[in-house]
Every structure is written in C-alpha cells, then in structure tokens.
C-alpha cells in the first residue's frame, strides 16, 4: 500500500512538471492593457517590461543603459544616432530591425490614444539610416532624452501592421525575457521564458503575475507560500513578515516625495479665513512658520511607523539632482509662533487642508493639522477620493493641499517642471503647481537646464532652482516614501528603485 502511495505521489510530482520553475508574483494591482502605449501607470508598465524591450532601459538604480540600442552617439546637441542590437528576434520569430523602431515611434507619437506622447514630444523626426541604425532629431537640446526613451517599448511592425487597437491591447509581442501566454483578467497574467533572450536564458520557465489588491490578501499569499514575491507590504504586517522564517523582508527607497502645496499667489484664497481677510500664505514668514511647526520626525516615526524617510528637500536621494549639502528642516513651534506674530497673525487663522482619502494621506493630513493647531492655526482636513480631488486641484479650488509626487524619470526635472515652474500650459510647465508658486529666476533656470547638455552645469542649475524654492518656502516636503517587499527565501530578489518587478532580475 505504501509503495502505491509513494508511486502516486511521484507520478503527481512528475505530472506537475518538477523541472518547470515557476515564479509567482502578487502585485498590488494588475495591468490595464497589453498595449504598451495605451496606459501609462506603474503596474501596467512593470508587467509589460517583462515582455517588451526599449531602446534604452534603466538599471536597478535608475541609470540609463543599453538595451535594444547597443550604443549611441550625440554628434550635435539635437541629433542622436542609435546603433541597434543585431540578431534580436521577437517572440513570434520575426527579426528586430530599424523598421520596427520607426513603426513603434510613429505609433507612440501619433496614435490618438497614446498615453506616452509627453515622453516623446521633443522628438522632431525619427529616420532609418540603415537596417540597424536610427537617427533621431529633437526640437531642442534635450539632456534627459535617454531617460524618456526608457518608456517607449518596441513593437513588431510585421505582427501589428493593420491590426485593430483591440487586438494589440490583448496580444503583446515583444523581444523581452518573457513571452506572453494568457491574461485572465482580475486573476492572473501568465508568461513563459523567452529562451533566446539576448541577455541570456531567464531563470524561471514560467512567471505568473497575480493582482492581489487587498493588502491582507497579499500578506496571506506570501505567508502561505501561494506567491513568491509581493510588493507594497502594509506597515502593520511587517512584524509578521519579519518573524516568518520562510520569508525575507525588503525596504528600499522610492522616488516619491509627500509634500504640501500652499496657495501663495491669490490675494484672497478660497479656503482660508483670516482676520484681515487676506491670504496669509502670501507672506513668507507664515510659510516658514508652517515649516517650523510641522513635526516631520514624528510623522515618519508614528504615522509611517518608520517606513519612510523624513524629507529635507524636494526630491529623495534616489533622484538625480539631490543636494547632499542641504540639512534637515528645523522643528521649532516657538519660532513658528514668533513668526506668525511678526506676520500679524498672533491668533492664527482658519484653513482647509485638502488630501486624498486613500492610503496614509488622511493620517498624514491629520498629523499636519494637529501640528499646526499647536501654533494657533485652525486646520480642517478635507479628504476626498481621487476622482473628486484631482478635478478640484486642477481648477485650483484649494488653498492648502497634501499630495505625493514620484519622479518616474529619476531626474529632478520631473518635479521642477511640473511643480516648481510657474503655471504655463503653452510651454507645458507648472501643471501641478497647485499653490501657484512663481519665481522668475527659478523659471529661467528650469528652462535653461532643460537644454543644458553639460551634466555638471545642468546639475548645478537643478540644485540652484531647488535652493530658491526652499528659501522661499514654496512647498512643505514631509517625507519620502519607501517601497516594501516580501519574498520567499527560495528566490533571490533585488528590488528596483522605481518599484517595477522585472522577473529577469529574480534568480
């Protein structure tokens, strides 16, 4: 009898494919489309990067590196020549060459539903020099060109030409380390190894991405061994993960800053009630008082439970442009009160702090509110869902708002262009400058740095802009978030700074 059972067990093992190594990843969200140009969000990009390659890619620490472009040169400031990798094949067997690059860049720039236009709108032309050489011309010298190109995955012209948008949205064909197998929406995306991948054979034969949107479900998944890796471990469950001997815990810095906008432009701000009727935030003393009043260390320690890095400037240390010479923000309620008095508000005023109602945002907003209450400011927290919140912010129906910004390109210009530059839709600047911070010198430097090809000179300019914004107390940075992962000890996993999970990394 025993023999039969052992025999059956062996047979079962063999049937389940003892040799096929499968990696199962529990993600906080799924992909929305298999079309790499349709939607630009981290979860979709992260999954699709396993299937697709781009000309240039990011390494783990967000430095640009060669991918489908083997090498490149920048003969004149606006001109880029890319030598393409030879012998690369798409998953369906067709060859990768210059025509595919031309086709892909044409689609990402001109398709009416492309969500990546902002990544390529500096490109003036893309042309084929020969079968394996591409020339691109930008409309102005563009120092972070290579970083932007990491977003553009390369599609196969032969496969996609003439196909409908819907077909492309369901059938990804790339050159990446994993081939797409199936997509059971809301349940799983399955991939299998591309053994001919140009960087070598992937470690795992099969990869399954599962959207486990509920944090407790992700934790149960990793603890029960149902998945090998999870992202976004909830802070409350970290102790449980650390105590489990089968699971490793990872905490890595991210690209996101949590910070506050202050309306410093309008004479009268809609959600402030001050004794004088004026907008107190126009006065730098009041903004500085706010900065002194907020107990950032306590927010990191108690609200974020230690899973955050207290901010000392606009961008985190992971972002290019971080200034090591800048010290901590001072926490000093007494100085804050004195400054308020000096500014003519000894008894404070009333203000509404707008925030999202998801994640830790409401708790951070409450903590900021209670910090400010101690210096006599009455703060009402108004936490709303994203669909309401962003609409209101866009129309500047706010005086004081808490939000996060992730510099996805890994470069300080992301924050400076969208948030620090004064509002200028025609030039594409200041779209998220919800407090309407405006400084002519900062604007000039931002615009100049956007075309400064000398890296050292450019870094100096970026740092200079940040100094101006901090000296003016234009924003109140609170902290930088961190990414938390858990992985089964049997897999070797190294997280990436941008939070993407690239199965090829996992050994």
């Amino acid at each position: 009898m025993k023999k039969i059972i052992v025999g059956l067990a062996t047979a079962a093992l063999l049937c389940s494919g003892a040799n096929a190594k499968t990696l199962s990843v529990g993600m906080s969200d799924g992909a929305q489309s298999m079309d790499p140009y349709f939607i630009n969000n981290d979860d979709t990009n992260s999954i699709l990067n396993n299937v697709f390659d781009s000309l240039i890619s990011f390494d783990k620490d967000l430095h640009t590196q060669a991918n489908l472009a083997e090498s490149w040169s920048n003969p004149s400031p606006k001109e880029w020549i890319f030598k393409l990798r030879k012998g690369v094949k798409f998953h369906n067997g067709s060859d990768f060459n210059a025509d595919d690059v031309i086709f892909s860049y044409d689609r990402v720039r001109n398709w009416d539903k492309s969500a990546f236009k902002s990544k390529v709108n500096m490109i003036e032309s893309v042309s084929k020099v020969d079968e394996y050489t591409i020339k691109m011309v930008t409309n102005k010298p563009y120092p972070i060109f290579l970083r932007q190109l990491t977003y553009v995955n390369i599609l196969d012209k032969e496969t996609l030409a003439g196909k409908s948008d819907q077909w492309i949205g369901l059938n990804p064909v790339g050159t990446g380390p994993y081939k797409f197998d199936s997509w059971n929406k809301g349940d799983s995306i399955k991939m299998s190894a591309n053994n001919g991948y140009w960087l070598g054979k992937p470690t795992y034969d099969k990869v399954i991405f599962k959207p486990l949107t509920n944090a407790a479900t992700r934790v149960a998944g990793i603890l029960s061994g149902a998945v090998d890796i999870i992202n976004k471990v909830p802070a409350v469950d970290v102790a449980k993960i650390k105590n489990n001997e089968r699971v490793d815990f990872f905490m890595v810095p991210s690209l996101r800053t949590i910070y506050i906008h202050m309306d410093q432009h309008r004479e009268k701000s809609p959600f402030i009630k001050s004794p004088t009727g004026k907008n107190p935030l126009q006065d730098i003393k009041v903004r500085q008082a706010f900065s002194y009043a907020i107990d950032r260390e306590s927010i990191t320690k108690y609200i974020m439970k230690g899973f955050a890095v207290t901010a000392n400037q606009l961008n985190a240390s992971t972002v290019y442009g971080y200034d090591k010479s800048i010290g901590k923000f001072e926490f000093n309620p007494e100085k804050a009160k004195a400054l308020l008095k000096e500014a003519g508000y000894p008894n404070g005023f009333e203000i509404q702090l707008d925030s999202l109602n998801t994640g830790t945002y409401p708790k951070i907003a409450q903590a900021v509110a209670s910090s400010l209450t101690r210096i006599g400011i009455k703060v009402k927290v108004n936490a709303t869902p994203g669909s309401v919140f962003f609409g209101k912010m866009g129309k500047r129906e706010t005086s004081f708002s808490l939000i996060g910004w992730a510099s996805g390109s890994g470069d300080a210009s992301s924050f400076l262009d969208s948030i620090v530059h004064s509002v200028n839709p025609d030039k594409g600047y200041g779209k998220y400058n919800w407090g309407n911070f405006a400084n002519a010198k900062a604007d000039e430097l931002i615009e100049k740095s956007a075309s400064t090809m000398n890296p050292e000179e450019r870094l100096k300019e970026l740092k200079e802009v940040q100094k101006i914004a901090l000296a003016e107390f234009g924003y109140l940075p609170i902290h930088y978030t961190v990414n938390l992962y858990a992985a089964n000890k049997k897999v070797h996993f190294e997280p990436r700074i941008n939070g993407y999970i690239w199965a090829f990394d996992v050994k």
Partner: protein, 316 residues
C-alpha cells in the same frame, strides 16, 4: 399571461432606460477620466487630444445620443481604461461572480431552511439554542472578518486551502474541477454565512408563526401526522415570504460580492466595478449596471411566477 409578460417587458425596458440615463449623467458629472488616465507630465495638448479621441469633448446630450444609437446596435462602447468593449469585459468577469453567488445561495438555502425548521419545532431544545447562537453570530460578524480568519486558519496556519484566486475552469465554471472546488470553499463560506443565518432565522420565525395558526390546530385535531403538518402545510405557507427575500438577497449577492472578491482576489465583477468607478470609466459602469439591473428584473419576474405555483391565490 402574454399580456402580463408584455407589460412587464415594457416596464423593464423603461427601468433600464432610466438607469442608463441616470448613471450616464452621474458619471458625466463625476469628473474627467482623462486627468486620471494620462501621466502627470502630460501637456495640455495631450489632454485635449485624448479627450477628443474618447469623444469626451462633446456636450452631454451629444454623448448620450451617441451612446443610445450605439446601444441600438448592441454596442455599449469601449472602456476608457482597458480599451476593450465594455460589455465584453463585464461578461468576461460575470461568470466568476455568478458562480460564487449561485453556489453560496444554494448552500444557504440547503442548510438554512432545514436548520430553521428544526429550531422552530422545538425552540427551547439545546440544539435549537446552539443553532440560534450561531445564526446570531452569522448575522453580526462582518464578512471581511470571516474571510480573513478563514484565510489565516486554512491557508496560513494549516496550508490546506489556497488563499486567493479562482481555480481551474472547466466549461463555464470552476465548480467541476478539484482545483476549482478548493479555491471555492472559503469564498463560498464567507459569502453564505450571512445569507444562511438570515434564511434560517426567517424560516424559523415564519414556521413558528404558521404553526400557531388555527388551520394547523385543526389539522392536528383531525389527526394529520405531525410530519405532514410541518413539512407540507406549514412549510408551504412559510415559503412565500421566504422566496421574496431569497430573490432580493440573490440580487444583493451578485451585486455586492465586492468584499468577498477583494479578500480572495476573486476575478469577478465586484472588483471591476469599484475600480471603474474610481477611474471614472463610464462605459464599464453603465454596462455593468445595465447587466445587473437586467438580472434584478429577471429575478423579480421569476419570483412572481414562482408565487403562482406556491400560492394558488396569486394570479399574474
């Protein structure tokens, strides 16, 4: 009967038309999905182009007219967020939700009615008290808690049941494969606890009330066997209100599996609709609500017809 059905059909169409208008209007007013779809560094021009590509630059009336004329061709539009036809996405997800709801309902009925009868015949026995205690717990305990405790015990500690996902699907359901059944056990228990307790308690109350009626006493006096009285005469009269509630509850199950689906990462419509509301994905929200209201309308119709079989006084 034909006239009745035609009448109902007309009313149902009117109901669904109204729903489509209201939902369309609310979603129109709720905000602009384009802001949520494009990356933060998108320029104003990108926003304008995307809005035009989705037809969102038109006025409400024009958009609704376009929607109606598409509906006439059986097309509910493409999802803004997924880019695929909205109805396809809803129908792709609906079997998973229906499967969960139907099985949970069957379990609740098969256990709830007998247990209700038992506890009504001898309300003071120990067994009845135990049943009533658990039914009270079943009504009071939050679904979320039940689900998480089950996962903790059976997946994390014992490791016997999968913590999430839907198992292997054969034909249209996962209930026909062993892997599928293993995945179904915990979600079904989670979803049926409340329904089971509700049906149990309704059956009990109904039975106790009916058993006090004069015609039951008369039947007893005439010497009709106790079993016949309980399981035929009394039960039949208890069933009428019960069926109404079961009908409503089934609709609720289909529409509100969201919590259970979230805990178990079940690929049903509950999760889809919450995401779509957050993303302001109007085509999916409209398609989903139309399908769900169609199901409600159909259930109500079936319940009405069932009445006529159980209660000869009811005529449709």
């Amino acid at each position: 009967m034909t006239k009745y059905i035609l009448n109902r059909l007309f009313h149902s169409t009117l109901v669904m038309f109204t729903i489509s208008f209201i939902v369309f209007f609310i979603m129109f007013k709720a905000g602009d999905p384009v802001e949520l779809m494009l990356p933060p560094d998108a320029t104003q021009q990108d926003v304008v182009e995307m809005r035009a590509a989705l037809g969102l630059d038109k006025s409400f009336i024009v958009q609704y007219q376009k929607f109606l004329s598409n509906v006439a061709e059986g097309n509910l539009g493409n999802s803004f967020i997924y880019g695929q036809p909205a109805l396809d996405i809803v129908f792709e997800r609906l079997p998973a939700t229906m499967e969960l709801a139907v099985i949970a309902m069957i379990v609740s009925i098969l256990l709830g009615i007998p247990l209700g009868i038992i506890s009504s015949i001898k309300p003071n026995s120990i067994l009845s008290r135990i049943i009533m205690f658990f039914s009270l717990a079943g009504i009071s305990v939050p679904v979320f808690w039940t689900g998480m405790i089950l996962v903790l015990i059976f997946s994390v500690i014992l490791g016997v049941l999968p913590s999430s996902g839907r198992g292997e699907v054969y034909l249209f359901t996962s209930a026909f494969t062993w892997d599928g059944i293993k995945h179904l056990i915990m979600p079904v228990i989670t979803l049926s606890v409340f329904q089971l307790a509700l049906i149990l308690r309704l059956t009990r109350t109904g039975m106790m009330e009916v058993l006090m009626q004069d015609y039951i006493k008369l039947a007893s006096a005439k010497g009709v066997p106790r079993k016949v009285i309980v399981y035929y005469h009394a039960l039949k009269n208890t069933l009428i209100p019960l069926i109404t509630v079961i009908g409503i509850q089934f609709g609720q199950l289909v529409a509100f599996t969201i919590v259970t689906e979230t805990i178990f990462a079940w690929p049903g419509t509950g999760k889809l609709i919450i995401d779509s509301i957050q993303n302001l994905d109007r085509p999916i929200v409209v398609a989903y609500l139309l399908v769900i209201s169609f199901i409600f309308v159909a259930i109500n119709f079936i319940v009405d017809v069932l009445y006529t079989f159980i209660d000869p006084r009811v005529r449709v």
